[in-house]
Amino acid sequence: MLARVDEVARWAQSSSVWPLTMGLACCAIEMMTVTSSEYDIARLGSEVFRSSPRQADLMIVSGRVAQKMGPVVKRLYDQMADPKWVISMGACASSGGIFDNYAIIQGVDTIIPVDVYVPGCPPTPDGLLYAVNLIQQQIREGGRGGIVASA
């Protein structure tokens, strides 16, 4: 009986992954595109971008994280209620990308835990949708962390 309730809870959770309204750089443009009718993230139940971290389940780190932005991103992550998930979108968020310099944090996973990495510069909206799919899969199966969203 308990197992069944657990499954229902996971189904509900995975069908309403609400992302945080947070755009850091050019990847954010692609992130906004997934809400359009062309890609329609609403099919996954994730169209509700929340402006408060307290109502968000998913943080999409969409772009390079500057050294000065690092503490802000960390703080927003801390303010999100558990359970929470993180997508590192694109080369810059995942590794610093082409910005191998003093100003950019070399991978957002040095400050917050990442569940799915999306490769690309920028990734296609499909890539991001696939990453949200993987997050849903993780929630349903109860796993966490460190997946690279590659075909």
């Binding site: 050294q67 000065k68 191998d100 310099n101 003093y102 100003a103 070399q106």
Partner: protein
């Protein structure tokens, strides 16, 4: 093909007014630090009401090492008449300074100098005397060093030792330039090689 605005590395005197063409109607003049304040004050009285930008350039092996550049704008004096409209006067004032030299702040003349001087201080480490609030503006407040100086390690002081991937050295990075830091030595080496050949 290199831009005509790029100063040649092996050139002896890197002096922008002698090398670069004036951009359209922009007049360029060079002023000594001791005369800077008086000159700018007289320009302000002369009608240069707007300080468009204030920046700095690091020439590293030149003496004086830095140029501080003031971009000034004087709008057309008359409001009426089509001919007067769109004929503003532009002026760039260059001032060469050494690393430890101090420049007078012009914050009281143009309010736009406030953040611009903070930016120059933050990124080049040049101090403006008389500025009311000379704090860092772009980098975190506890940052060490001034990133736009040419001898600043590109990857930051903390990550200096980590190796740069091999492919990163192949693109537009001049051969012989070390991965990060020690840029001065590399430039001197380049100048030496250019003179020998």
């Amino acid at each position: 093909m290199p831009s005509t605005q790029t100063p040649p590395i092996a050139g002896s005197a890197i002096d922008p007014p002698s090398l670069r063409p004036a951009i359209d109607d922009a007049v360029i003049e060079r002023v000594a630090p001791s005369e800077l304040r008086a000159r700018l004050e007289s320009l302000k009285r002369d009608g240069y009401a707007m300080l468009l930008d204030l920046g700095a350039v690091d020439y590293l092996q030149r003496s004086p090492r830095f140029d501080v550049v003031y971009h000034l704008l004087k709008l057309a004096p008359k409001r009426a008449g089509v001919k007067e409209i769109g004929a503003p006067a532009r002026l760039r004032v260059l001032c060469g300074v050494e690393e430890n030299e101090r420049l007078p702040s012009v914050m009281d003349l143009w309010r736009s100098a406030d953040w611009a001087e903070r930016e120059v201080y933050d990124l080049f480490g040049l101090v403006f005397e008389g500025h009311a609030d000379l704090r860092r503006i772009q980098m975190p407040h506890d940052w060490e060093g001034h990133p736009l100086r040419k001898d600043y390690p590109m990857r930051g002081p903390a990550r200096e030792r980590s190796p740069r991937p091999a492919f990163a050295n192949k693109s537009n990075v001049v051969a012989g330039t070390p991965p990060s830091g020690r840029t001065l030595e590399a430039l001197q080496e380049q100048v030496k090689r250019a003179r020998e050949s």
